[in-house]
Symmetry: C2
Subunit: 333 residues, 2 copies
DNA sequence: TTGTAAGCGTTATCAT
DNA sequence: ATGATAACGCTTACAA
């Protein structure tokens, strides 16, 4: 910066004012001179020094289990875009389910002004610890202490979706997924049970436990569909499970939806292009991320607040895999 | 830090040594005392101050167009994991095809020690500019100046895949994709043409231009398949295009692969679970990212070098959509 | 093994 | 509108 100042014949204060774009106004002629000098000497501001002086990293951190599947990528993309307009950079960290995730986040925390923590990444105690030090927003996870929480609605949609299946006349509907793996999945399981009970049916005592990947959906659905009194409908906790389940039905020679109805969750991009097109529930992924960024920003700018809880609505997407007539919903233009 | 030092009855130098984990060794008893004090006063290092003092941000930046589809997410995940083991944080920035991407990257550059730039994000001049200031690794993009480049092999695989289609007896094979959209796509188009010429056929003068999304694949394939002498095989530049194309064939009542063979590229997770299972080419996504991180690290640690070019091999994945017997390649366990 | 003190490159306050 | 200069919180010779 001194170099630029010399080159332009001004003080570093002035250089800072024009390059940093703040502080007292600078004469336009001077601005041009400084800009020219900066370019001439190939100068660029140092973010670290800047952060130290301003007491602001100008960055937020987001911690997620991994990036497989469209869910995290979608949310993070929305988060990144919102952060960008707020002038924040975003640092990412995947825990990969490691037990030392806490340390990872602790390290991250030294470089950011706020943290977005997805469910299933760090234990509650850790959340409390971080929330004490900086604004924290939780994503898809019950509120902890003073941290804010953003979630997508699950229970009512699950109830509606299971109700829809009931409306098709199914009496043996299995839930394929792992309610214990995340609060979101847990609520889908709850909503599903409520729908069955609402129809005076006894929901199964336990779900057909299944991780959120195609291969697991294929395996578990294969097992379930081979049983004596196999279910006639599969309520899958994610589109990926559902895709695997469809493949399993196919392999067993069962027609979907005529012999087995299958529904998913998420509305991944391919969902409408497979055959039969998948009935599912769409989550507002990008919005989830954008809200998280916005909420974090108020925590960063403002005083430490109480912590909000926001629940974003989801949308039932009825296509063909549930048994509805296959109105072609694919874009024709 | 002074607070901790007081609390522990030592100097800030000692605190730095134990908390920073470097410099001269510290007596174990002292270490414990400092650690305890730090916890007691709820102290955490300040990354900005640290970066300023060490002249190292301990972070790398990655710039990509967006996060839709599995490609970027896969590469970035591999990148992040490798960076983590190298002790680097990763900052992400999506350009969303904006023209002011350069400024975005310029801002990012003030906070990182190195940059990973995906193809189609910033112009060559900008790459040169950044490469002059810090290590830069290009991903899926021809080499520019002193920047290193990592790519996945495209041409030979495309030749092999098109050759495979030829082997099935197809004589009218269309290329669906946009060679101009990325160097990768361009090479696939080249390899495809080479294969046709190698079989003494005249490749079409132009590809069936199509963006990399299901909806576009659906639209373009629908148009192509409706033509008089419609192709009997579709060589799609991505799995997403292929999925859309399959749906289009389906909508037209054409059986895949009996009436139209369709191949993709990428081997996205659902590719093996759709019906028919997609014949495609698998790219080593995570490895691309990991290599980028590693290459960047040598640039950061070492002296400014000449810039390497690494091409990672891809793998032909023959399944059913090309017309091969549908050996069930789904996991059964 | 530990302490002292000089930076690291900005921003921001206070003069001018 | 611009200039001097004191922080900002840490690391790291150099001393002890």
């Amino acid at each position: 910066m001194y170099t630029v100042a010399n080159h332009a014949g001004v003080s570093i204060a002035t250089v800072s004012r024009v390059l940093g774009g703040r502080g007292a106004p600078v004469r336009e002629q001077t601005v041009r001179r400084v800009l020219a000098s900066a370019r001439a000497v190939g100068y660029r501001l140092n973010g670290a020094a800047r952060a130290l002086a301003t007491q602001r990293h100008g960055a937020i951190g987001v911690v997620f289990p991994n990036l497989s599947g469209p869910y995290y990528a979608g949310v993070i993309l929305g988060l990144e875009e919102a952060a960008q307009t707020l002038g924040q950079s975003v640092l990412i960290a995947a825990t990969h389910g490691r037990p030392d995730a806490e340390d990872l986040v602790r390290g991250l925390a030294t470089k950011v002004d706020g943290l977005v923590l997805f469910g299933r990444t760090v234990p509650d105690e850790a959340v409390t610890e971080f929330a004490a030090a900086m604004p924290v927003v939780l994503l898809g996870r019950p509120q902890v202490g003073s941290a804010s929480t953003i979630r997508a609605e699950n229970r009512a949609s699950a109830r509606a979706l299971a109700g829809h299946l009931l409306g098709h006349g199914h009496t043996r509907i299995a839930f394929v997924g792992d309610p214990a793996s995340s609060p979101d999945a847990g609520e889908r399981w709850t909503g599903y049970q409520e729908a069955l009970r609402g129809a005076a049916m006894r929901p199964p005592l336990a779900p057909e436990t299944c991780a959120f990947r195609e291969a697991d959906g294929y395996r578990v659905a294969g097992l379930v569909l081979r049983r004596k009194r196999a279910p006639t409908a599969l309520f899958c906790a994610s589109d990926e499970i559902a895709m695997g389940a469809c493949a399993a039905a196919d392999a067993l020679g069962l027609a979907v939806p005529q012999q087995v109805a299958i529904t998913g969750w998420d509305d991944i991009p391919v969902a409408r292009f497979v055959s039969p097109a998948l009935t599912t529930v769409r989550q507002p992924l990008a919005q989830l991320g954008a809200r998280a960024a916005a909420l974090l920003q108020v925590g960063i700018d403002g005083p430490p607040g109480p912590g909000e809880v926001a629940t974003l609505p989801t949308q039932l997407v009825i296509r063909a895999s549930c048994g509805c007539p296959a109105a072609d919903q694919r874009p024709t233009a």
